[in-house]
């Protein structure tokens, strides 16, 4: 297949740092983050927007980075799993996942945590149903949902403190 597109420069802010990415316009943001920005915390699961493993925040909204063409990241503020901890202090949701064994094989974990952090930012005191809805786009292949759910319930108690 012929190479038709030229690489473009995409300027965005990733985890608080102004960054210029050089890539093809329709490269998946997921790949650009992992391979060019060196942020391999964002995982690829299905690659078609079904599993949520590649969830990141773009301008405050949860998105599947496998479905975002790099060109559309121009000017965006992006937050990945690497941007959640404050120096050595983990985000409340990360800490709760540690305490409750919310991570098993780990592939879904960054996406789960991003989805939970995003939910708590919108709704600091979600009901059980709201937590289930907020996480419904994130699949765990180990099916360890009980501990993931417990981690988020725990993190909710702490949510007001650090959003």
């Amino acid at each position: 297949m012929p190479e038709a597109a030229r690489k473009i420069r995409v300027q965005c802010v990733i985890n608080g740092r102004a960054t210029t990415l050089e890539t093809y316009p329709m490269a998946r943001l997921l790949d650009v983050l992992r391979e060019q920005a060196g942020l391999a915390g964002t995982k690829e699961g299905c690659g078609e927007g079904e599993c949520g493993a590649c969830s990141i925040e773009m301008d405050g909204a949860l998105v599947n980075s496998c479905l975002v063409p790099a060109l559309q990241a121009e000017g965006a503020k992006i937050r990945t799993i690497e941007g959640l901890a404050d120096d050595s202090r983990l985000h409340a949701v990360q800490q709760a996942f540690l305490t409750h064994g919310g991570a098993q094989c780990g592939i879904c974990t960054p996406g789960m945590i991003l989805a939970a952090v995003n939910l708590l930012a919108r709704n600091p005191h979600p009901s059980e149903a709201e937590i289930r809805e907020g996480l419904s786009g994130n699949l765990c292949r180990c099916t360890g949902y009980t501990k993931i759910f417990a981690s988020i319930v725990e993190a909710c108690r702490d949510a007001g403190k650090r959003a």
Binding site: M1, P2, E3, A4, A5, Y24, P25, M26, A27, R28, G47, E48, G49, E50, G52, S55, A61, L62, V63, N64, C66, L67, V68, P69, L71, Q72, E74, A115, N118, L119, E133, G134, S136, G137, N138
Partner: protein, 287 residues
């Protein structure tokens, strides 16, 4: 297999008129690309035959929800999340809100757009049944001007629509006239979130003294496009609710739709469920 990404071009026009000029100058060459929740899936699967896209995601002319006494106008880039959060949509167009809430996941709802859903023209799309019930109209724009068309009739067959290669959808307009109507929406799929529907049903009716004065019914996943069940509506219109009229309407509905066997369900199951949803709708009307 994944597509070869360097083969795909994408540009971001600075405004709507630049986008339209591009589409007019090279008809059929540049396709609008909104939130990408369908097109990027095709890219990943190696099934995106088109090679040149105009990213319209950043165009403010295609955004926003405007409310005036006669109708609500939605920019084509209105996302499902924006629909869910809008107070007047929630109050007056609850079926649309419900459809938005049942489309994909939160992440999909943040990027998927109403205009994209319409032009992607999946027979299983969740929002079109609701839009049909509300008698939505579409504004199509090109460099030669704008035209409003009724949404019902916009599609002529599987992925076939009344949209020229130099046009795109700018706005979707919903008349604010169904507020007194009883409304019903149900999507049947394998899982509450994410799953694509096996059958999706939206209905609304104005009922006076248990007589159906007027009614709208639309279904997804039962034909090559989302369809309005016009013959079924006609069977019910003007009638008093009764088991006899329901069963007559169910007969008509079964003939009016054309479901198929596919990976998600069977024609037989879909036809039966569509009839059952009609029964549940009628039950809701008498409640």
């Amino acid at each position: 297999m994944r597509s070869y990404v360097p083969a795909y071009e994408m540009e971001a026009p600075r405004d709507l008129s630049a986008a339209l000029e591009r589409m007019a100058r090279e008809p059929g060459v540049w396709k609008p690309f909104a939130g990408g929740t369908d097109l990027m899936v095709l890219l990943e699967a190696g099934k995106l035959p088109h090679r040149k896209f105009l990213s319209i995601w950043g165009l403010p002319e295609l955004r926003g929800i405007e409310v005036i006494p006669a109708h609500v106008t939605l920019g084509a880039l209105t996302t499902y999340t924006e629909l869910r959060r809008h107070e007047i949509i929630a109050r007056e167009f609850p079926l649309l809100c419900q459809a938005a809430a049942e489309t994909g996941s939160i992440a999909t709802q943040n990027r998927g757009t109403l205009g994209g859903n319409i032009v992607n023209a999946s027979p299983a799309a969740d929002s079109p049944p609701a839009l049909f019930v509300y008698d939505a109209e579409l504004e199509l724009v090109s460099t030669s001007g704008a035209r409003w068309v009724p949404y019902h009739g916009f599609w002529s067959g599987y992925k076939q629509m009344d949209l020229r290669s130099d046009e795109l959808i700018r706005r979707i307009r919903l008349p604010r006239e169904k507020t007194g109507w009883k409304q019903y929406y149900r999507k049947v799929g394998t899982r509450r979130a994410q799953a694509i529907s096996k059958v999706c049903f939206a209905g609304a009716a104005r009922v006076e003294a248990s007589r159906i004065v007027d009614v709208r019914i639309a279904l997804g996943s039962v034909a090559p496009t989302v369809v309005r069940a016009v013959a079924t509506e006609k069977t019910l219109r003007g009638e008093r609710l009764s088991p006899a009229i329901l069963s007559a309407a169910q007969e008509v509905l079964a003939r009016e739709i054309a479901p198929i066997d596919d990976m998600r369900s069977t024609a037989r199951y879909r036809r039966r469920v569509a009839q059952n949803l009609l029964a549940e709708f009628c039950e809701a009307l008498s409640a």
